[in-house]
C-alpha cells in the first residue's frame, strides 16, 4: 500500500525454482534410471526402453483423464474398467457384428464417454461424492464388461483396431504410434490447461469452487465436462489397449484403476484439487513403468515393486499435505 508497485514483475530465486511437487518426481526418476542402468546390463537397451514406453502408454493416457478429474478435487475409481468395457464394445462390434472397424471404434469411445457423462451427472446434479459414484461405477462397469463379453476373450480383431500397435523405427529404436498418440494427447491437454480460459477455470473450480462460482464460472458444467472428457479419453485408451494386446480382454483394466491415481499423485498433482501439472502424470506413469521394468531386469519379485510404489505414493501425498499446510 505504501510503496507503489514496481512495473517489472520480478521473481525471487525461490519463486523461480520449480516447486517440490514437480522436482520430486524428476529427481526420483533420474535416480531410479541411474540405479537400474548401473545394476543391469539390459535396462538401457533401446528394446527395453521402448518396452517401458509401451507399458506406460495405457496408464499414461488414462492418467490424463484421471488428472483432469483430480484437478477438480474429484477422483475416478472406474477408469480402468470403463476402458475395458470400451475395448469389449469395439472388438465385439467389429468381430461379432461385423460393423466397419471405424464405426466399432466410434461405438466403443461413445460407450466410455457415456460412462463419464453419467458419473458427471451423478456428481453435479444428484450431488453425490465422486468417490462413491465412481466406486459404484467400478462395480457396474466390471459387471457389464463380463456380462456383455460372456467372460470370453474376443480375438480376430481387424487391423484398424490394431493401428496404434504399428511402429515407427528410428534406427534401433522402435516407437509405436500409440506412444506418439499418448505424447500428443499430453501436449494437447497441457495446452488446453495452461493457455485457454476453460483450462484455467478447471483449476479455479478445483482450488476454490465458491470463489469460482461467484466470478460467474459455471462450476457444475465445468465438472460435468471434465468427467465426460475423461470418459472419452478412456475410450481412446481402450483403442490403445486393443492395439497392444490384439484382443478384447474382459479382465483388462483392473490394475489401471488405481495405477492411474498412483501416476497422478506421483506426478505431484494434489488430491485436494486445483494444483498440478499434466506432464507430472506422464512422469508418474514413467516412474511406475521404470520400477516395474527395472525390478524384472534385476530378477526381483514384483511384490517389491508394489512395496516401493506404495511408499512413493505416501511420500508424494505427504509432500502435498505439507505444502498445503504451509500456505
Amino acid at each position: 500500500m505504501t510503496q507503489p508497485a514496481s512495473i517489472q514483475p520480478k521473481k525471487s530465486f525461490l519463486e523461480r525454482l520449480p516447486s517440490l511437487s514437480i522436482l520430486g518426481p524428476v529427481v526420483a526418476l533420474v535416480f531410479m534410471t541411474a540405479f537400474f542402468g548401473f545394476s543391469t546390463t539390459t535396462f538401457f537397451t533401446s528394446r527395453n526402453l521402448s518396452q517401458i514406453l509401451q507399458q506406460v502408454m495405457i496408464v499414461g493416457v488414462i492418467g490424463i483423464g484421471q488428472t483432469l478429474v483430480i484437478l477438480t478435487a474429484g477422483i475416478d475409481l472406474s477408469c480402468g474398467v470403463v476402458m475395458a468395457f470400451g475395448s469389449i464394445v469395439m472388438t465385439k462390434f467389429a468381430v461379432e457384428y461385423g460393423v466397419p472397424p471405424i464405426l466399432a471404434i466410434f461405438a466403443g469411445i461413445a460407450a466410455t464417454t457415456l460412462f463419464g457423462f453419467i458419473n458427471g451427472i451423478l456428481i453435479t446434479r444428484v450431488k453425490l461424492p465422486p468417490f462413491i459414484v465412481t466406486l459404484g461405477m467400478l462395480n457396474i462397469a466390471t459387471a457389464l464388461t463380463l456380462i456383455y463379453s460372456k467372460s470370453q476373450t474376443i480375438s480376430g480383431v481387424p487391423d484398424a483396431l490394431l493401428f496404434f500397435g504399428n511402429t515407427l523405427k528410428f534406427g534401433e529404436t522402435q516407437i509405436t504410434y500409440g506412444v506418439i498418440l499418448m505424447l500428443a494427447l499430453f501436449t494437447l491437454t497441457w495446452f488446453i490447461l495452461s493457455e485457454t480460459a476453460p483450462g484455467r477455470h478447471l483449476y479455479a473450480v478445483g482450488n476454490q469452487p465458491e470463489a469460482a462460482r461467484l466470478t460467474g464460472i459455471p462450476t457444475d458444467r465445468v465438472i460435468l465436462v471434465v468427467y465426460t472428457v475423461a470418459g472419452l479419453i478412456y475410450g481412446i485408451a481402450a483403442w490403445l489397449l486393443v492395439s497392444r494386446y490384439t484382443v478384447g480382454n474382459p479382465n483388462a483394466g483392473q490394475t489401471e484403476n488405481l495405477e492411474s491415481i498412483t501416476a497422478v499423485v506421483l506426478g505431484g498433482t494434489s488430491l485436494f484439487g486445483g494444483r498440478g501439472m499434466i506432464f507430472g502424470t506422464l512422469l508418474g506413469a514413467i516412474i511406475i513403468g521404470v520400477l516395474a521394468s527395472g525390478f524384472i531386469q534385476m530378477g526381483i519379485p514384483s511384490t517389491y515393486q508394489l512395496l516401493i510404489t506404495g511408499a512413493l505414493v505416501i511420500l508424494a501425498v505427504a509432500t502435498d499435505q505439507f505444502t498445503k499446510r504451509k500456505s
Binding site: 519463486e15 480460459a197 484455467r200 482450488n207 476454490q208 466470478t215
Partner: protein, 263 residues
C-alpha cells in the same frame, strides 16, 4: 457537490424467510462518489439488503433503481453486467492461482483473432500488464502479479479481491466486512484502498461492525434496524455513541438533530 446524483436506490424492499422477516420495507440510497457504510446489529438485515442490491437474492417486493431506472436482478451475474461488483467476505479468491489470474478469473482477456476467440486462448502477457496497471492505479504494492495469492498476507489478499472489483466495476462496489479478519495495519491498508477507489469516482458500499473504521472512512452512514433503515447520519456531525444508540434502539433517530440526513 450540492446535489450529488443518486446512483443506486431501493424502495420499500421486503424479504421474508419463512417466519423470519429479514427486510421489512427497507429503503436505500447511494450517492455518486461517496463511501456509504451500512451498520446495524446482528440480524438487522444488512447482509440481506446487500444481497438484494447485488442480485444474490430476489426480494419479495420493492424496487431497485440504477441511475433512476428500475432494474431486476435475477443473479449476481445480472448485477455485474450493470457494473455492480461485490466482494464477499470469504472465498473471494482462488489461493493457488496467481494474482493476475485471480484478477481476471471468469473474465480472461483473450488473444486477438477469430480462432483465438473460438478456442478461448488467453492473453497472459496482456493480463499481466493490465494487472500491474490496476494494482499500480490503486497503489497496492505487490511486487509480482505472477505470485500465487496464498503467498500474500490477509490484507493483501483482501486487496486483490477489492482490486478485482475495482477493475471491473463501472457503477458500484459493494464490500461485505472487508476488514473483519484483519489486524490494525492491514485493516488500515484496506481502508486506504477503499478511499483510493472512491477518489477515482466509484461509489462504495461497505458493511462493517467496526465503528472506528466506519467513522474514519464513511461519508454517510446508513443505520439498519429491524429490517428497515432507521436513518442515515453524517459521521462528521454525529458521535459514535449516538450512532450506536440509534442502532441498538436506545435513542430515536430524531434525537440526533441536524446530523440526521434521512429519517
Amino acid at each position: 457537490m450540492n446535489n450529488p446524483k443518486i446512483v443506486m436506490q431501493a424502495k420499500n424492499i421486503s424479504k421474508r424467510y419463512g417466519q423470519v422477516t429479514a427486510l421489512d420495507g427497507a429503503d436505500f440510497e447511494l450517492l455518486d462518489g461517496e463511501i456509504l457504510a451500512v451498520i446495524g446489529d446482528n440480524g438487522a438485515g444488512k447482509s440481506s439488503l446487500i444481497k438484494v442490491l447485488s442480485g444474490a437474492t430476489i426480494p419479495d417486493s420493492g424496487e431497485i433503481m440504477l441511475d433512476g431506472k428500475t432494474v431486476h436482478f435475477h443473479s449476481p451475474i445480472d448485477a455485474r453486467r450493470q457494473g455492480i461488483e461485490t466482494v464477499y467476505q470469504d472465498l473471494a479468491v482462488a489461493p493457488a492461482m496467481t494474482i493476475a489470474e485471480n484478477l481476471f478469473l471468469g473474465r480472461e482477456i483473450l488473444r486477438p483473432g477469430f480462432l483465438s476467440k473460438f478456442f478461448r486462448l488467453i492473453d497472459k502477457k496482456k493480463m499481466l500488464q493490465e494487472a500491474n496497471r490496476h494494482m499500480q492505479d490503486l497503489k497496492i504494492g505487490i511486487r509480482s502479479m505472477q505470485q500465487s495469492v496464498e503467498t500474500l498476507s490477509g490484507g493483501q489478499r483482501q486487496g486483490v479481491a477489492v482490486a478485482r472489483s475495482a477493475a471491473f466495476a463501472r457503477h458500484v462496489i459493494i464490500l461485505d466486512e472487508p476488514t473483519a479478519a484483519l489486524g490494525v495495519k492491514e485493516g488500515n491498508m484496506v481502508l486506504e484502498l477503499i478511499r483510493n477507489i472512491r477518489d477515482k469516482g466509484l461509489p462504495v458500499i461497505i458493511i462493517s461492525h467496526n465503528m472506528p473504521h466506519v467513522f474514519e472512512i464513511a461519508d454517510r452512514i446508513h443505520i439498519q434496524r429491524l429490517g428497515r433503515r432507521a436513518g442515515v447520519v453524517d459521521p462528521k456531525k454525529v458521535s459514535m455513541s449516538d450512532t450506536v444508540a440509534v442502532m441498538t434502539g436506545a435513542k430515536q433517530p430524531a434525537d440526533l438533530g441536524d446530523g440526521l440526513l434521512i429519517a
